[in-house]
């Protein structure tokens, strides 16, 4: 066959690489800010745009989709071209992908700051941006499969298997979990309610970890680790077994985020057993990485790139051992809702995603700029500061999580809670929050050093925008000399993609379809009624302010929970919750039974300044809720959207909703006046929020208690 000459596109790699560094710094900086807010509430500046509830989704999305996302594209574009011996399918699509993704990031940052959110973790973006993400992802997919189609290398290397599974699964996850009914241009309601929404969300949320933060990075590891160490991959067999078992089993593990909740036991069990079965498939990746380095360990001592990769792969091994452990019921009973989870994800994010990313960037930067790395010494400094940062982040969070959980669960000899005031358990771990913010700052400093080092490298060199390469074209008629299966799967990208898709669809289907279809999974409760219009508006304020980032609405069936909060949460109580708001972390107490617990005026004062009602509280102030008028212009559309989703408001109720809303607001304002809030104004947002909070969890309480929530 004739040898063909072609050119690799390094410009797109450089662009994604710079975007990675920029968004990495932004995302980590926001992380440091919210870490400080957890012990200095005034650091939210009493402004709506800078409270923890709005910045926390900004931080998670910036780090996952902007930092890790751009890092994935950097490494995938670089390695895919070289593994397929082809330039990307279309330079235009590469550009659209790059600029489209950056546009999404900017829109996401703006919408979070302005409180435009769906509340579903890592899927907080509203429906127009969801559609944009889908389009850009399809562009990426066409570009990638187009490149694979015109490849000059018959077999697909293991890295490409991981890239393909990433593309397919992320698309499926994003579309299914983002199904929502638009109310206005910037507001929608999830089509799922309550437990179905929770299950769908965590099928998505867990598999975002699997297919956005694991499989693409394993693909990067399989390309860049052998390249950087100049060693052959340890075991082809292991990569086959661990790839297929990983993608098949991972999909099932989502319910481990919902252990000891209202999710039916059978689904929790599936989450537990598949999470435990994930240890070996995950560790297969770690082993293949670390054992590839056999005979190169002396170089690890000198080469900062290998150091980053070794610590990254080790952090991956730690996270993937810990995940299954946290999925076991008795351990999860302790760790759920605590900072242990925060420690766990940061070992993964900082150690695995962060360090693999830096290793990749340090390796390819001098190659595309045709020069040496500006400073190996600085890269080593970055490595050590980053490693210290991870340690100073994770250890105090483990400590804090365990301490707080044990305090929540401790009873005195007389059968009382030892710490009935939730705030005591928070004050106890504030020193850990302080240390954590130092750890995060160290990691950020390391990232800035790394960015500077790479910037100087780029300045010193010249971008080799089009790198010349040669390879023979593929023969049309091809005789396979080794095994049939190997050829059948890895020689044919379409076969491979179809089977990978089948593998990732099974687990989700088995768990989710019964949850949607089988009614016995959600026993109905006659006394549970839809929210009133004012409560619905209040709920949307709750969502807008991101209250669910610190407050759960899911009381677990433990004595320590029911004594503290009240009757444990029943699955039938959430049937009208589009979206569900169970939360996943308790920085403040659970709110599912807060309805009727305090007088209206308590909430009024508490939202204005939490420390008035709870001296020492870490909650930010929300003075604008008292100043801003409630926007009721969409209430009819909201009621109609809910009716479309099956919430049983009476026929034509939307035309009457506004009157009902005003009447209820007047009642609450009147009750506030009797409780000493002389200037209570029924038109303000705070009134709607109070209505919602006073409704929470009261549908199955005795009538006496719910009287208190002014209906």
């Amino acid at each position: 066959m004739a040898v063909e000459t072609f050119y690799y596109d390094n410009r797109i790699v450089r662009n994604f690489g710079f975007a990675t560094l920029l968004w990495g710094i932004v995302g980590m900086l926001v992380g440091v800010i919210i870490a400080i807010q957890l012990y200095i509430p005034a650091f939210s500046f009493n402004l709506p745009w800078t409270t923890f509830g709005r910045l926390r989704p900004l931080h998670t999305n910036a780090v996952i989709f902007a930092f890790a996302g751009n890092a994935i594209f950097t490494g995938v574009y670089y390695s895919l071209m070289r593994l397929t011996k082809a330039r990307m399918f279309s330079d235009t699509l590469s550009k659209i992908h790059f600029w489209g993704w950056q546009l999404i990031i900017v829109l996401a940052a703006l919408s979070f700051v302005f409180g435009i959110t769906t509340s579903k973790e890592y899927a907080e973006l509203e429906w127009p941006i969801d559609i944009l993400i889908t389009l850009i992802w399809v562009v990426f997919a066409i570009n990638m499969f187009g490149t694979i189609a015109k490849r000059r290398e018959r077999h697909l290397y293991v890295a490409i298997w991981f890239y393909i599974s990433t593309i397919v699964t992320v698309a499926v996850l994003h579309i299914v979990n983002s199904l929502e009914i638009p109310v206005t241009l910037l507001k929608s309601y999830s089509i799922y309610a309550g437990v179905q929404d929770a299950l769908t969300q965590w099928w998505y949320g867990h598999n975002a970890v699997a297919f956005f933060l694991t499989t693409p990075f394993l693909g990067l590891m399989y390309y860049f680790l052998p390249k950087a160490s100049n060693r052959p991959v340890f075991s082809y067999k292991l990569s086959v077994v661990h790839f297929w078992s990983l993608i098949f089993i991972y999909i099932w593990a989502g319910p481990h985020h919902l252990i000891y909740t209202s999710l039916p036991d059978w689904a929790q069990t599936l989450g537990t057993v598949f999470s435990v079965a994930l240890i070996a498939p995950s560790w297969g990746g770690m082993l293949n990485g670390l054992l590839t380095l056999r005979g190169a360990w002396d170089r690890v001592r000198e080469d900062p790139i290998l150091k980053f990769m070794v610590v990254g792969v080790t952090a991956y091994g730690m996270s993937t051992f810990e995940g299954p452990m946290l999925s076991v019921k008795s351990i999860n009973a302790l760790t759920h809702y605590t900072d242990w989870t925060i420690a766990h994800v940061h070992v993964g994010a900082l150690g695995w995603n962060g360090f693999i990313t830096f290793g990749v960037l340090y390796w390819l930067w001098p190659r595309i700029f045709q020069t040496k790395l500006h400073s190996v010494k600085q890269a080593n400094t970055h490595f050590w500061i980053g490693t210290l940062g991870i340690i100073f982040y994770a250890l105090p969070m483990y400590w804090a999580g365990l301490t707080q959980s044990l305090m929540w669960k401790e009873f005195t000899a007389d059968g009382f809670l030892q710490y009935p005031n939730f705030l005591e358990t928070v004050i106890q771990i504030v020193p850990m929050y302080i240390v954590r913010s130092i750890g995060g700052t160290l990691f950020l400093v390391g990232t800035i050093i790394g960015a500077w080092n790479l910037f100087k490298t780029a300045k010193a060199g010249n971008l080799l925008a089009d790198e010349k390469a040669e390879a023979p074209a593929l023969e049309k008629e091809y005789k396979e000399e080794s095994g049939y299966w190997h050829h059948w799967l890895e020689g044919k990208a379409v076969h491979f993609t179809v089977w990978a898709t089948v593998a990732i669809l099974i687990g989700g289907a088995v768990e989710m379809i019964p949850m949607y279809m089988v009614e016995s999974n959600v026993p109905t409760i006659a006394s549970v009624k839809p929210y009133t219009p004012l409560e619905l508006e209040g709920r949307d304020i709750y969502i807008r302010e991101g209250c669910n980032n610190c407050h759960s609405q899911m009381i677990r069936p433990f004595r320590s929970e029911t004594v503290r909060y009240g009757e444990y949460s029943k699955v039938g109580e959430f049937v009208y919750d589009h979206p569900f708001l169970w939360g996943s972390k308790r920085t403040g107490p659970d709110l599912h039974r807060v309805g009727g617990k305090y007088p209206d005026a308590w909430h009024y004062n508490h939202m204005d300044d939490p420390s008035l009602m709870s001296p020492g509280s870490l909650m930010p102030r929300y003075p604008w809720l008292i100043e801003d008028d409630l926007d009721t212009s969409d209430i009819a559309a909201k009621i109609e959207a809910m009716q479309t989703l099956g919430v049983p408001y009476a026929e034509g109720y939307s035309s009457q909703a506004l009157n009902d809303l005003k009447a209820q607001a007047e009642k609450i304002a009147a009750s506030l006046k009797t409780q000493g809030i002389s200037n209570a104004d029924p038109n303000k947002e705070i009134i709607a929020l109070i209505a919602y909070l006073q409704r929470l969890g009261t549908d199955i309480k005795g009538s006496a208690v719910s009287e208190n929530a002014t209906k």
């Binding site: 077994v241 079965a277 669960k409 308590w602």
Partner: protein, 219 residues
């Protein structure tokens, strides 16, 4: 163990692969987790040997006997040997019955409580501490009232001017008014200390008093 390190004949952009066999300990780990998963599913959902979460809760609350869970000697790791709080309403998808909540009508059969005012200085100091931690937010730093009524005047909404009527309100709360029932939260001595502290606030005339509410007792 020793690996053969046989190189495969492929070369991807300079990367080669060895064809080593799967590490045996790794493979065994994988098999063990799968077998464990199968056993787990059968144990809980096929043979019904282990308690599901609501049974586990009811065991913890002492509502059902452990033996009925099919697991003799099983005790939840979080079970406590202290006094048991009253049993919860029936589990499952049923709404809680109203039997467990106070009815709104004044009920006559409630046994009268009879406690003595605490006078010990140390205990009164503790009462002031408990007040500051739990009551101050609604009743004001000095009992002058705010969200809740003024505790220093002679006007009573839910009592008759006696020490025991304070204890009763602190214990049982006034749910319709948003007064919390503290009995499940505060141990008895703390409850009496704080009630005594409040009883002593009557007649202290703090600044910014809330207007009188309720009926007048005494002078």
């Amino acid at each position: 163990m020793k690996y053969e390190d046989k190189l495969l004949d492929h070369n991807y952009d300079g990367i080669q692969e060895l064809d080593n066999s799967l590490p045996p300990w790794w493979l065994n780990l994988f098999y063990i987790t799968i077998v464990w998963g199968v056993i787990y599913v059968f144990y809980y959902h096929v043979f019904d040997m282990g308690p599901l979460q609501i049974d586990e809760y009811n065991i913890e609350m002492g509502v059902i006997e452990e033996s009925s869970s099919g697991l003799s000697g099983y005790q939840s790791p979080y079970a406590d040997t202290g006094d048991k709080t009253p049993p919860p309403p029936p589990a499952g998808g049923e709404a809680a019955t109203t039997e467990t909540t106070e009815s709104q009508e004044p009920v006559e059969e409630v046994p009268a409580i009879n406690y003595d005012l605490v006078t010990d200085a140390g205990r009164l100091e503790n009462g002031a501490k408990v007040y500051a931690a739990n009551c101050l937010a609604c009743h004001g730093a000095n009992g002058e009232g705010g969200i809740g009524p003024n505790m220093t005047d002679n006007y009573w909404i839910n009592g008759d001017g006696s020490f025991n009527s304070i204890v009763k309100v602190v214990q049982d709360g006034v749910p319709v008014k948003g007064m919390i029932a503290w009995k499940p939260v505060l141990k008895e001595s703390d409850l009496l200390d704080v009630s005594s502290h409040m009883y002593n606030l009557i007649g202290t005339n703090p600044p910014n008093p809330k207007e009188p509410q309720g009926e007048k007792y005494g002078d």
